[in-house]
């Protein structure tokens, strides 16, 4: 299915849960309302026409000018065929879920795609998006007692962490070169 068909299908099924459709460019996606997202995810995963069974990546975004955070879910359908021919990807698509910056909450989809478990933890760790109903929402890359979420645009690099200096000799506030 082409991205147009997928977005039309989603719009027909979920109506105003689909807030926006962006088909231009190299990365077509739809914006899904945060509280309806698990429903849409189930549909994307289970629907016979779509069968998006492979969640490739969750990229968290900081949309600082809009005062929003977002998570981009890149999906891909892997046919469960067992013939000898190499599989060709029937369709790939992306979903963006936007949440407000002050109190970022997105429902978890770890029960839809198991791999979302770690990807959501990473987004929580680095961007501070809280995924509701996540089975085990802890920091994954940073230490447990790390302050702040480093990938946010307004993140200030700490001056010191357990006695380890966080600035360079030239007293630069962030590791920007």
């Amino acid at each position: 299915m082409t991205p147009e068909e997928i977005s039309n299908l989603l719009r027909r099924t979920f109506g105003d849960a689909i807030e926006e459709v962006v088909l231009a460019g190299a990365h077509p996606y739809v914006v899904v309302q945060a509280d309806r997202w698990p429903e849409v995810a189930q549909f994307l995963r289970r629907d016979r026409r779509l069968k998006f069974n492979l969640l490739r990546c969750i990229s968290s975004l900081d949309l600082l000018p809009d005062d929003k955070l977002a998570a981009v879910y890149d999906l891909c359908a892997v046919p469960e065929a067992t013939d000898d021919k190499p599989l060709v990807c029937p369709h790939e698509f992306a979903v963006r879920v936007v949440t407000n910056r002050g109190n970022p909450h997105i429902p978890s989809v770890a029960d839809v795609w198991e791999t979302a478990n770690w990807h959501e933890r990473e987004a929580y760790d680095l961007m501070g998006i809280v995924f509701d109903n996540h089975p085990d929402l802890r920091r994954i890359l940073c230490p447990d007692d790390w302050q702040g979420h480093p990938l946010r645009k307004d993140y200030v690099f700490p001056k010191e962490y357990h006695g380890i200096p966080g600035t360079t000799e030239h007293e630069l506030p962030s590791p920007r070169h």
């Binding site: 190299a26 490739r56 190499p86 198991e114 990473e122 590791p175």
Partner: protein, 403 residues
Amino acid sequence: MTDTILESKPDLLVDYDRAEQGDLDTEELLINMGPQHPATHGVLRVVLRVDGEMVLEAVPHIGYLHRCAEKIGESLEPYQYIPYTDRLDYVSAMNQNHAFALAIERLCGIEVPGRASLIRVIFLELNRIASHLVTVGAYGLDMGAFTPFLYVFREREMILDLFEATCGARLTYSYITPGGVREDLADGFVDSCREFLDYFEPKIDDYNDLLSFNQIFVKRTGKVGVIPARDAIAYGLTGPCLRASGVRWDVRRAIPYEGYERFDFDIPIGLPGGTGNIPPGVVVGDSWCRYYVRVLEMRQSVRIIRQALDMLADTTPGEIMAKKVKNLKLPAGCEVYLETDNPRGSMGFYVQGDGTTVPSRVKARGPSFSNLCITTHVCRNVLIADIPAIVGSIDMVMGEVDR
């Protein structure tokens, strides 16, 4: 979660009351495998909950090699960022360079000259062989077979020599950049490369004799850590790990890039995909299959390189860089997510431009990161000796897990 258990439970605790009553219940033990452990290939830490030799639960902890690769990507131009991609998966740096370069090219609509594209394919596949060699050798080492490790490094050395002759570096190449490749091939590269391929192909049989079909090795890895195809897809496994589960999924074929559709090659998968010669005691999706898919992939890479070397004769030397790639402005509001098939699985880069020369967001989707998240699911009720067998067959490079 596990950390708190670890702190609340003293080591080697003996329950004296129960011992006095003659109750022979065994105590569970929490063991830290890593971050400094020979079998964890770097700084992975797996917390094992064991009962004697039996592992009841294994929880991986990562992040010891976190170097803020994505944050750095937001403050550097794509050219400057290429050396950082080397350091993600340092065992297959060419493929990492390429994944990022391809994302930038797709974002900015850059066409790569034909010669550069062929050179890229040659180097990608050479690096795939080099990376699989490390995996195969290190996996043997995990299983206690020391000798294959040195054999594969002998062959890898020759690949590194070819790389060194062309781009001067042996581990972190920064050779493939947005728009093409940095330098043309070294003089005599094509002949040397053919010489290497002729030498290398029969060596694969040596590895099979020595390791792949060794009875002890098959017994150690067969039926250990079986991942069914459905689980593999649900947990986001890609690359050899997914193919070993019987799914013939390869991004090079599924969503072709870099002209891979021009080449004739097979995609080896775990068992019924059929190479004869399969030892008994092996099932689809077990550790042996994950290992052996890599051995088979090396042959396919040799095939691709041979074809690419033949095609290279039709191109003009020197055409290795697209025009107008200096001071590249990434279009505002444009974003791209692109996956390439790396030796360890699908390496994805999500790049968002904001009209300047510096991307506003770079997200690297490491294949090992996704592959590793199945560890807890697979490592249940196995022996301690199976943990290296499973973790080694998933084959992660911590640089790219932690980024």
